[in-house]
């Protein structure tokens, strides 16, 4: 199991939803898509790289060949995949505290969803429906989602500064340089391998270092 790749955590949650309520969920997602302001709450959770919701109708599981038995399900299923930074508790709790109403709107049509407040039943629900990842790949294990965003700002500022100020007199250069540092003060930060966030992740890292040494 490897739900962790560097600073990112992969969450997979699968929950049943009554087939005759699927259209309500789809409609809510559609509205959320067409009105980006409805996703404002998610944007404030800047620890998220990417997240998705996929609804599989009762007859929607891929069927490829006559040798494959057909599914015979009572419920449709909703898959939720998220890529975020930090620990499981931090993530689940930040959802509860930041966007409880939005969360309930997305999940309340699911069977036995307990609502996001209070916390303990919600934790139990997510843990009960979560499936571990076997292999998780992250293109930048040392970076958090906020690092990716701040790096974009830093790159542009650096390019502009170089074009405008590199050839000025030393004093003018220094004044511009200090202004640049002031502008970027929230965007600096050296990135390193993540500290131990769980013993499982630590074990994966040890194994990785061993295989590194072996080859």
């Amino acid at each position: 199991m490897s739900n962790i790749a560097g600073k990112a955590y992969a969450m997979n949650v699968i929950t049943p939803i009554r087939w005759y309520k699927v259209w309500i969920n789809r409609l809510i997602f559609k509205i959320a898509l067409s009105k980006p302001s409805t996703l404002k709450g998610l944007v404030t959770l800047s620890l998220i790289h990417y997240a998705r919701w996929v609804i599989i109708p009762r007859d929607g599981f891929p069927h490829l060949d006559s040798s494959q038995p057909k599914e015979n399900l009572n419920y449709a299923y909703m898959l939720f995949f998220s890529n975020f930074n930090g620990s499981w508790d931090q993530y689940v709790d930040s959802f509860t505290f930041a966007i409880p109403a939005g969360l309930d709107l997305f999940w309340k049509w699911n069977v036995r969803y307990p609502k996001s407040v209070p916390l303990s039943p919600f934790h139990k629900y997510i843990r009960h429906n979560q499936i571990d990842t076997s292999h998780y790949y992250n293109a930048y294990p040392m970076a958090a989602s906020n690092d990716v965003k701040s790096a974009k700002k830093l790159k542009q500022a650096l390019i502009n500064f170089n074009a405008e100020s590199a050839s000025k007199t030393s004093e003018e250069f220094l004044a511009d340089y200090n202004r640049l540092l002031n502008y970027l003060q929230h965007d600096f930060g050296e990135m390193r391998a993540t500290p131990i966030v769980s013993l499982a992740a630590h074990a994966v890292k040890e194994r990785y270092l061993k295989s590194h040494a072996a080859h």
Binding site: L45, P62, D65, R112, Y137, Y140, A151
Partner: protein
């Protein structure tokens, strides 16, 4: 369809695994073991697939039964009726579903077009499996009808048959290509170090060193010095 958000695509693939066993192991367990054995970070085969931001593999053995007590109003009401008969309460319990196949789940967040991406998966996915070179076919080998996949266009067709559309895809990142993101992260790392190392130095010295710094890091050259995909050590 919400599978795209800006330039990012959410690929969700559920490939059914054959029901059966080989050498006392089910095909699903063999597939799971192969996923677990994949090398991680920069050595992951996915690191070679262009434009992959984040991706995962796991085996969906079954759906989950909602056995936990819920706050269902019908269920609570049936608690009262159970004074006369248990039928209503039993009927209010969630039904139990069982999947007929286990599924290999591949979920990827990547930059750009699906066909170009899947071409990259087919052509670039390669890794060292404790001394043996493997390609993408090794992971999907025991999936239903995968034996009919012989070339790249078969593979693209196969994955599309297993693909599910996202109802909502949230892109919390920058919507730039991976190459652009990696270059930006590299610059953030290097410029942070430069700034720390030049605290309190004279204007002339900072200016001179900055020129050399720019020459070294080449901020606008995406093919110049950068982080490698999956790079896990500074």
């Amino acid at each position: 369809m919400a599978t795209k958000s800006g330039n990012a695509t959410a690929l969700t693939v559920l490939s059914p695994i054959k029901n059966g066993i080989m050498d006392d192991l089910s095909f699903a367990d063999i597939t799971r073991e192969r996923c677990l054995r994949l090398p991680i970070h920069e050595k992951s085969p996915i690191a070679r697939v262009p434009n992959t931001y984040l991706a995962r593999l796991f085996v969906l053995d079954d759906v989950v039964y909602e056995s936990l007590p819920g706050s269902d109003s019908v269920f609570n009401f049936s608690d009262i009726t159970s004074f006369f008969s248990d039928t209503a309460r039993k009927d209010a319990l969630p039904r139990k579903d069982r999947l007929q196949s286990k599924y290999l789940v591949f979920s990827s967040n990547f930059y750009g077009d699906l066909d170009a991406y899947l071409t990259g998966v087919w052509e670039k996915w390669a890794y060292d499996d404790y001394g043996i070179q493997r390609d993408v076919r090794y992971i999907w080998e025991h999936c239903v009808a995968f034996d009919q996949v012989n070339d790249c266009s078969d593979f693209i067709g196969y994955i599309k048959k297993c693909q599910l559309d996202a109802s909502l895809f949230f892109n919390g990142s920058t919507d730039d290509s991976l190459q652009e993101q990696l270059k930006s992260l590299y610059l953030k790392q290097e410029f942070t170090r430069f700034v720390v190392a030049h605290q309190g130095k004279s204007a002339a010295e900072i200016q001179q060193d900055f020129k050399e710094f720019v020459k070294r890091v080449q901020p606008e050259n995406l093919n110049g010095p950068s982080w490698q995909p999956g790079q896990s050590m500074p």
